[in-house]
Amino acid sequence: METADLISILPEIIITLVAACVLLVDAFGGRRTHPGLLALVVVGSVAAIVVSVVARADGATAFSGVLLTDGYAVFFKVLFIAIAALSIVLAFAQGKEIPFAELAALILFATVGMLLLGATGDLITLYLGVELTSIPVYVLVAIKRDRFRATEGALKYFLLGAFASGVLLYGIAWLFGLTGTTNLQNMALYVQSQGATDPWFLLGLGLLLVGLAFKVAAVPFHMWTPDAYQGAPTPSTAFLAAGAKMGAMAGLLRVVVHGLEPWQDMVVPVVVAIAVASMIVGNFVAIWQRDVKRLLAYSSIAHTGYMLVGVAVVHAQAADGGLMRDAVAAVMFYAVVYALMTLGAFAVTFAVERRTGGTEMEDFQDLGRTSPLLAAAMVIFMISLTGIPPAAGFFGKLYLLQVAVNGGLTWVAVVLVLTSTVSAYYYLRVVVNMYMVEGRPRLLPVPASTAIGAVVAVGVIGTLVLGVYPAGAVEWAQAAFEEAGKLALSP
């Protein structure tokens, strides 16, 4: 191990240290130090972001190949750290209801796992990343342990999660045994040298896909999502959706890009099927939801479906040459967009929850009158989630559709647009409740909260900026992938 290796994991180190400091300060600094802790977290995150952008180790891999240090990794490092920081800020608004320090620490630990997922070049890192992301999140869901629903959601999430990671582990075991390696590229090379269609590979491959599909909450492995999302305290839900899920998505994309190319005939149909199922189930069931958190949970399933469409065409050959760069860039861009808008949406929901203690449609009534800014922000998020310009969600979908059509999956693109037409119905129902239903006069304005306000503001600005001028982000994603592409078998 050389210094290069160390440099390449500087952000992870920083985050871990911040987590440790938070715990220590909290343990010895008494109970009245929340703002200090928050400041510490924010500063640390900013530092980590800066470091991850500035201090780039030369060389594409680190730690004998278990870690990839390309632009792709950097891209997701920045994104994930930002998400973590925002989630912690959001959680801060919960006041003393929850042990803030531990919560922050857990989020940061999970973030380390996400960073690994973004940089993984080896199934070991993948597995550990997945676990390191999941285990703290189980706790985050249950952290309001005096609320039964929280613990119930956590339990379901935990048992199924452990089950799924068992499946994943078993699949990895087989892949290791049959390829003699867990390094993604070596695996791909080996498989290419043997005919990729040898059946025994497929067992491991299938189980691997199942495990990852569970982590990104794709149908039919999605069942835990609504319960966990609804049961968890809203800030945790926000992190669950924007953070853990995107982390898993980053890992999945890594695996597909570097490891599964020889298998694409085997991978694509499964991914497409899962994607279509997710879009349909997510959107159709969301129609019936009255609890906004649960609704957003189903919508997140649907959005997983959208992103999987991009994943499916990674290795597709378009008429104008390789599609990989655009496919991956599309998913990356969408990850950013989705993180922004879903964080924002949950932030608003959280604010509303503080008003009435509930997160159902009725609780949103009259928001347009009582707190116009929040309502307007929610409208923007809903528009963005629907995929209507000028919100960022539109370009996210546009890019995905583009690669889908280019990759010859036009029919999937059609499914995508039709299902998102359905989605318009329930997203707009939120707007209906905010503006078009005469609420009970009892409703007061939402109690102000700088923390929530900050998160909402970031969400709104991000959503609008990316919606009006997406070029920067898109080009960054493309450039970032250029490097990762080099590592793939056929850039």
Binding site: F109, L132, L178, P199, W200, L203, R290, D291, T356, G357
Partner: protein, 214 residues
Amino acid sequence: MNSETLLTLIFAYLALACVVFAVLVVLLRNPVQCALALVGVVFHLAGIFILLRAEFLAAAHIIIYAGAIIVLFLFTMMLLNLNVVERARQFHMQAPFAVVIGALLFVEFIVLTGAAITVGAQGPHSPAWVAGQGGNVQALGQVLFRDYLLPFEVASVLLTAAVVGAIVLARQRPRRPRSSSEMGVGEWMAERYAKAERRAREPANPGQGEGPQQ
């Protein structure tokens, strides 16, 4: 009889025991007995590892599983004093289907891997090399701390996280009624409304949307 058949016999016994105990885990009524069956599985598995010259893992399994995990299970049962055998139904309604699907899965495993499989490329760590390192433990250490240092570190972070999490969930928190002054404004309002809300609305049945207002 030569060592090979002997080893095979030993393996046969161990494997059989593993399976039997595993089945017991799934079938026994009393959780405590299940836990003990699990211990049985672990011990025989350790035997199998020894058979495979993976002494360290054998030890690790016994220590971690038998010594830590299963003890935790038993503690939990004590804590919740659930060791009494429940008269209630032990199996789900879906059990038959579950068995079917499980069997199907097993068959699929067989179909997929039943053919003469070609295992992956031979690795560098031949028994000779292992011996050269001074045995299984040293060899494992070499691999673990050279090539897979980072994962090892990550594993430590993982354990830390788990500990923190466990503490957060399990620790007794001061349950004294808090004065509204100490409450965040959010909670305060939340309580105020929550009461009114619940009264106003029918007993909230979450997720039961009244369906799309077409």
